[in-house]
Every structure is written in structure tokens, then in C-alpha cells.
Amino acid sequence: MTPIIEFKNYTFKYRSQTEPTLRDIDLSIYPGEKVLIVGPSGSGKSTLAHCINGMVPFSFPGEHTGSLSVNGLDPAKTGIFGMSKTVGTVLQDTDGQFIGLTVAEDVAFALENDCVPQEKMFSLVQEVAQTVDIGKLLDHAPTELSGGQKQRVSMAGVLVDDVDILLFDEPLANLDPATGKRAIDLIDRIHREQKKTVVIIEHRLEDVLYRDVDRIVVIGDGRVVADRTPDELLCSDVLEREGIREPLYVTALKHAGCRVQAGDHPAHIETMRLEPYAGKVREWYQKVSPPPAREEKDTALEVLDLDFSYISGNPVLSNIDFKIHKGEMLAIVGKNGAGKSTLSNLICGFINPDRGKILLNDEDIASKSIKERGEVIGLVMQNPNQMISKPMIFDEVALGLVVRGVPEEEVKERVYETLKICGLYPFRNWPVSALSFGQKKRVTIASILVMNPQVLILDEPTAGQDYRHYTEIMEFLKELNEKYGITILMITHDMHLMLEYTDRAIVIADGQLVADDTPASVLTDERIAKKAYLKKTSLYDLAVRCGIPDASGFAERFIHYERQVRSHGGQTADL
């Protein structure tokens, strides 16, 4: 069989860069295959995708050597329009790529551009809408859809063209775990039913592996580092070396001292042959110490019986009740639109509750203005570009102090100190625009920290970050929490984040508080996971299948062990 996508000795260099982003790529993908491409940010995996759909070199100019053929075409000659007949690309930003004013128009967009007559469009749109199950949404505007629905619309918009290759650029980036799972399921169904070639670029490996893929290609530093079946790959140390998170159960197996064999099919925890390992896992579980019990500290923030609705009779939040202790690091989780952001808006005073109280250090803050609250409760938004309003780093961090009339000398001192804490001191005189996304995030955190808040609220602190940057940001936050005693509240739907870095999770579903417990017990409780659109952690399956009845305890010990490993920087921790 001839490959449908074939890179031969392919090297590509962006015009704006001195070093090639892709080097000596040799990669063949065959018709009907489903291939996952993983790699950390900056590894070149997105560039690889852009080469396939013609964005390189047309939207992102540069030079290449070697050859690339996609369905017999050379993208560098065929152009983006030509390639769009063969390759359908679904971008990661489900919101931004929604072009039409309604679902139907968005799906029809490619047809319109192809001058397809109206009657034919109607039937084609109807048909493809059935395939991805959005038939009832055709007249809806984008603002009325959830993230998962928007993604289905994007898929429909691509499928309508009857392409041979479907290219997904980080399809899970903006989805909550349960929605992500369904997206993977849908991709799988389309792959099987329509016999398309599917290429998925993603760094959330465990989530993609929810359904079979034929091969995983690992890209590291512009080269193909590995090209194997999932089973083989999970038995190697390639992922660890390249800074990609392996599935948690695989890590757990390794901690337990198991050498995982490809023949036991480790790609899916549900079907993996665990007999050779179960004994060792149980042994390990007995051996490692459970995490020490937390000591109760004073309450920093207390939410008392809170109700809120935008339209009366249509509650967004009701009877929300919880306490946050001083120095805690905790997560507010739940699916998109469950009311998580509304809760943080209430705490910050952007909106006012219909009923209930918010206490800070046992004091009601209802009468405090947004500005006054901002001095004790700092909010860091998800997208740093939405916060940065000054061109220079120093000015940006100083802003909060300057508008409060703090004397110049003190401003300088406090800004420098904060920049040192955030590791930005060497850049103090740089323009913000010269920073990477992660560094910008730090600038926004610094600009809040400089006001010495007691509580820091972060909205999706790690969204769209790969494992390395994720770890960097989270370790930084952990340091702030441990060294400086700042209480940290994170709004997230990243389950790894809550498992690895938080002591407690507050779960909100449909405006109700459904759980307030340790992350390990939340993520091993099927009922809660389902309600809040979370996903049970694979540690649960591992524990159950290895005959450990206390799955939540197993998960807790695993996390505790991991944290020790991380803080020792080594491979093994003290048991």
C-alpha cells in the first residue's frame, strides 16, 4: 500500500528563525490509519500538522528540503485551498474557528466557498449534522453552544467537504474531561464508519488512548523520536524523556517496580492483562505510607449558603457552602458552565449574591468594593493577554500599586521583590511582548502578588500548557503556597492538576455543590465524576483490578509518593 502522507527526509525552517523547526522527518501514514502525534510545545508537532494542510509555507512562510506528499499532492505547490479538499483540519480553539452566525451556516461555510448550489447545501448540511449529532442545533448561535457542541460543529464543517484525511490539532485543549472523552469517541466512530485517515496532534496522551490508535509518533526537538504502537511505546521510557505525561496507571505500575510488557496491552487499563503485576502493585500499596493527616488551620475564606441567578427563577448557583483554610491549595472543579466562574466573580465582588454571605477572616465583605476586595483577594485570568495593559514588565507589575498612590520608592522595592519571587527579575526592563506565554502568565501573577493578597484565585492556570510548562507553573504556585503561605484557589477542569497539586476539591455541578473532599476520593467516585463531567482516574481502575478495595486510598498514596519524588528530584522517594 502506498502511504497517504509521506515525509521523506523533510526539513523545514521558518523564515523568521535561524534553526530548522523540523529536521530529517521520515514518516509514512497509510490510508485508513489513525495516528497520534505527541510532543511537548515547541517540539514541532504543530508545524508538522501545518505542513500537511498547506498552512506551511503559505500562511507561515519558510523553506524546506526533502519531500512531502499528501494524497499524491505536494502541499507547498497545491496551496491551502487545494489541500482543503483532501485534508480537513479541526483547530484547537473551538470558539475562534466558529465562523458562521449559526451552526448551519458554519457547517456550510466550505460549501459556500465552493459555490455549491443552495438546495444541495441544505441536504449536505443536514446529513453531516446527523453524523455528528448536532441536527437539533442548526439554528443556534455560537454563544448558545457548549465547548463540546462547538467542536462537533467544527468537525461537521470539515466532514461536509468529504476529505480523505482528518487532522485534529489538540482537540482536547478546551474541553472538560468527560466532553473530551466523548470527542475521542466521536473521532473514533467517524474513523471507523467513514474510513478516513485520522491524524491527531495532542499532548493529553491518556485521554486520547481512551479509544484505540494504530500508532503514536513522538516528536522531540523537531525530530521523530519514536514511531510505535501504543503498547510498545508505553513500555519504553521515551515519553518520560521527552517530557510527555504517560498515563497515570503506567506511572503507578512503574513505581511499583513492574516492567510493563507490550504483550500485556498496556494501552487500555480496562483490558490490560494485569495478572503479572497485581501482586507487586498490592505489595507497593502496603509498603508506601499514606499521606499525613492535614492539620486544620484558621478559616481564610468562608462562603455561607450562597444563591445567585442572573434571571430570577433560574438559579446559577444555589446553597453553596464551603470553607477555605489559611494556606490551603484547593480546586474548584466542574464542567464548563457549571457556575465555577460565577462563584469566583461573586467572591471578587463583580456581581452580588441574591442570598448568603462571603466571609474573609470571619468578616463579611458584602460592603467592600471591587477595589477593596482586590487588595486581599487577587484574581488571575486564564488568558494573560486579557490582563496585560502596559507595554513594559515593570509598569505592568507596578500598576496596582501606582493607582493606589503608593510612594515611588516603595513601588520600586515591592515590584523588584515580587519579580525576584516570580523569577522575572532579569527581565524587569523588557517589553511584555518579548515574553513567552508562560512568562506572560507569570507577569500577570506577579502583578497580583505585588499587592500582597491573602487569597489568590486562578482561572484555569494551566490551560493549553504542555507537561513541562504545566509543571513549571504549578511548582511555582506550590512554592508561593508553601513558602509565602498564600491561600490558592484554582478553577480548573484539569484532573491531573487537582490530583497532584491540591489538597481538596470543591465540585460544582448544575449550580450545586456536589462534593467537598480530597481529589483522590472525588476522582474515584463514579457518581460525582459523572455529575460534574469529570472522569474517573485510571488509578481507580488499576486499584480495583489489582484487588485493592480502597481505590481512593491507593490514589492518595500514589499522589503522596509522586510529590515526594518530585520534591526530591530523583527517581525514588523514601518509603
Partner: protein, 277 residues
């Protein structure tokens, strides 16, 4: 989002069912007639008709109220300005001078001047409801299709449609950014001076522009990947064929325009003169 100011709202009236081309053509013919004629009789008929059409379109006050008030304010300013700069324009036009109130200099208030300014007011009032109605009853995508059909490049039409698509997103970004900046201590309330407030506004505008630029990047890539701009022409999912009602509306607009202009100019100039003879 129901009831948002000056945005299209789906309703089932014959006006909503008209093709965008028809509405655009009607609106242009109507405004053109309204601008040319000063004939009070014609203007009064047009006013009555536009009110009837406005009523039939089931447009609600909250959809257009703010804008209407703004236009009224502008109209008042205009009327005052006309009086200040040429208080005897009416006399000049109608040839007679019936002084109502004696005022210093050339500022004698005449019936002719009042009548002239009354006509100006009528002109505003005949065009305004039609403009507002056109905006709130025309689906933006269909409008883009209409522009394209009368020969304007589809790039222009689509630019309009996509701008409308992103209005709600940009609005919600704006609120988010404003809140975050307020929490950092940038007070947006009325306490500060206008200049101060403008300066603080920039602290919302810049982040808004930067995050909007990100959006533009994504959407232009997405559009290109799906073949936007591939051909000179494109078809429209929301395009509408002209129906019998459309042709009748167009015919009515054309006949009405010709008749109005004939009545207007039958006596040799644009004005209807109740003062002669």
C-alpha cells in the same frame, strides 16, 4: 440574547420574510426620496407609511429606543443650528414673511421658518424608522448575501457578518477585562475626571485589542483552511430567492418614488408652498 440593542431578531412577519436585497433596495429608494423632497404632503404620507411598516415589523422599543433617542437629540441640535445660522431661510424659500415674534437683528421668528424646520423634522422622522427596521429585521448573513447579489464583493459583506458574529464575544471579553482591572484598583466609576477616565479606559482597550487580535488570527486561519476567497463568487446558505412579495414591494417602492418626485417637482421646485396665493 434577546433584546440586544440594534441587532437582528428572528420574528415571523412578512417584513422579516422579505429578501435582504428587497429591504436594502427599499431602504435606499425610500431614503433617497425622503432626502430629495421637501413636499410636506409627500413627507406626511411617507411618515404615516413608515410608522405603519414599523408597527408591522413588530419591532420592540427596547431594540431601538436608545438609538432613536440619540437621533432625536441630533435632530433637535440640527433644528436649533439651522435657526442660528439662517433664521430667514423660510422666507427665502417661500417668498413671504409672516412674523410671529419680534426678535433682535435678523432673528425674527417667522411662520415660514417654522414650517421649513417642520419639514426638516419630517424628513428625519420618515427615514429613521425605516433604517432602524432594516437593521433589526435583516439577518446579517442574509444581508451579506444581499450586498453580494447587488454586485458588492463578498469580502465586504462577509466582513460585516463576521464582525457581528464576534460582537457578543468581544462584549463578554470587555466585561471580564473590566472586572479584572477594577480588582487591580482601576476605578471606572464616575468619580474620576473625564480625562482620567479616558486614560483608564485605555487599560481595558489595550488588553481587549490584544485578545481580539488573537481571535482574528485564529478565525482568518480557520476561514482560509475552509476555502474562503478561493473563487470570485460564492453561494450563500442563507441567501433567499426573491418571492412575489419581494417584487411587489420593489414595484411599490419604485412607483412610490416616481410619484412622490413627480408631485414634488410638478410645481417647479422641491418645496410645497402653502403661503403663496
Amino acid at each position: 440574547m434577546a433584546g440586544r440593542l440594534l441587532t437582528y431578531e428572528e420574528k415571523d412577519t412578512w417584513i422579516h420574510r422579505l429578501s435582504g436585497v428587497t429591504k436594502l433596495a427599499f431602504f435606499l429608494l425610500w431614503s433617497f426620496t425622503g432626502m430629495l423632497t421637501y413636499d410636506t404632503r409627500v413627507l406626511l404620507v411617507m411618515l404615516a407609511l413608515s410608522l405603519v411598516i414599523f408597527y408591522m415589523s413588530k419591532t420592540e422599543w427596547k431594540q431601538v429606543g436608545m438609538v432613536f433617542k440619540f437621533i432625536l437629540l441630533f435632530l433637535c441640535l440640527n433644528l436649533v443650528a439651522v435657526y442660528i445660522f439662517s433664521p430667514q431661510q423660510g422666507t427665502l424659500i417661500y417668498g413671504t414673511s409672516t412674523v410671529l415674534v419680534n426678535l433682535p437683528g435678523r432673528y425674527d421668528l417667522t411662520v415660514e421658518q417654522l414650517f421649513y424646520e417642520f419639514n426638516i423634522m419630517l424628513k428625519y422622522l420618515t427615514v429613521t424608522p425605516v433604517v432602524l427596521m432594516f437593521i433589526v429585521t435583516t439577518n446579517p448573513s442574509e444581508f451579506a448575501a444581499s450586498l453580494n447579489r447587488i454586485g458588492i464583493s463578498y469580502n465586504v459583506g462577509y466582513a460585516v457578518a463576521i464582525a457581528l458574529r464576534y460582537v457578543p464575544d468581544v462584549q463578554s471579553d470587555f466585561t471580564k477585562i473590566k472586572h479584572a482591572q477594577e480588582a487591580r484598583g482601576i476605578e471606572m466609576s464616575g468619580k474620576a475626571s473625564v480625562w482620567e477616565r479616558l486614560k483608564k479606559m485605555s487599560m481595558i482597550i489595550f488588553p481587549l485589542i490584544f485578545s481580539s487580535m488573537d481571535r482574528i488570527d485564529v478565525v482568518s486561519n480557520a476561514m482560509e483552511l475552509r476555502g474562503f476567497g478561493k473563487h470570485k463568487k460564492r453561494t450563500w446558505y442563507k441567501g433567499r430567492k426573491l418571492t412575489k412579495t419581494d417584487y411587489m414591494t420593489l414595484a411599490f417602492a419604485a412607483v412610490f418614488m416616481i410619484a412622490s418626485l413627480w408631485i414634488t417637482f410638478a410645481d417647479g421646485n422641491r418645496f410645497y408652498n402653502p403661503f403663496s396665493r
